[in-house]
Symmetry: C2
């Protein structure tokens, strides 16, 4: 195997990159600025050393606790529960939420052998019980697994007095078109309708 | 900038990879097997050291001359002229051609300031004159620039006695549909029609 074949093979292991795209990337690398390639290769090699899961919320971070958990300006009374570490960055980029996060690390998926014990649910209960948390917003994806997981967590949390548990609204995407909305999304947008 | 942002930025410099896809790749790398990442980063860092342009044909190679130029079993009497080094691999994968290659390194594109002198045309003439070449197949892309370049080379080569200059057939792609063929492709397929 030549160096070209080896790198093509590695690129094509990445999600969403097929054999043809990988070949195109290798051709780009062959002609690219060598100083940049060196930086790129170094970033790749050192990423896992530099980035870890925050010991409190589970988000990717360079420092521990993460900048969000250790920021006293964040609203300590609200925790937003998400499936994956990358969901934290997505929600942060909306500038819509100023509380804390909690990453589950997945969803309950019995067919894949993932039960509640494999997720960071116990840690969530502990955080809610020990802290000054008033609201938990469950922001798992609006999928069968995400909804099931949300329901499971909601039941566990409902036993805690004085705690509000909410779920992100699900419905028509902004800029969307009724004509292209699927039946389930449309049904949810009816059930979740709000007064003007 | 965190290590995640830096690597996302590098991935998004690659052709065809936007900011969102780059983020997804970084999340994949965060969870991927670290031994594989190390190999991947090393392949990336060393590619340009290992791969060079063949001094004869201009194709990417680890040894010089390249395995094709130095293979006595290849038909030394035919040279296939292509635009880019990667075109050699594309044609090789068709198993349709057993001669030698010549990479131009681009096409004549006056608007981008690329004239014949920036391409490996002089080297082609030298190879054709000094060798036992009987046919030159011009396999530049069927685009305006590719056609112009083909015509330019054909004129230079037409002065050499006993040499046949040919151009790859252009027409309907196999498995294609007349209905979806563009006007220019259809026109070419008429002009290039063959007897049964």
């Amino acid at each position: 195997m030549t160096a070209i074949d080896e790198l093509t093979d590695s690129f094509s292991r990445l999600p969403g990159i097929g054999k043809k795209s990988a070949g195109r990337l290798v051709n780009y690398i062959l002609k690219a600025d060598s100083a940049w390639i060196e930086r790129f290769a170094n970033q790749l090699a050192t990423l896992q050393e530099k980035i870890h899961a925050c010991s409190i919320c589970g988000a990717w971070t360079e420092s521990d606790p993460c900048p969000i958990c250790s920021n006293p300006m964040r609203d300590q009374s609200v925790i937003c529960v998400v499936e994956q570490p990358q969901d934290v960055a997505t929600i942060e980029s909306s500038h819509e939420f100023s509380g804390l996060f909690h990453v589950l690390g997945g969803v309950i998926a019995p067919l894949e052998g993932i039960g509640p014990d494999q997720l960071r649910i116990a840690q969530l209960l502990e955080r809610v019980r020990s802290g000054s948390v008033k609201e938990v917003i469950i922001a798992t994806n609006p999928t069968v697994e995400g909804d099931t997981t949300a329901l499971y967590i909601q039941r566990l949390l409902s036993e805690i007095e004085g705690l509000t548990v909410t779920r992100l609204a699900s419905g028509l995407p902004v800029g969307g078109d009724l004509e292209y909305a699927d039946r389930l999304t449309l049904a949810r947008s009816f059930r979740g309708r709000m007064k003007f």
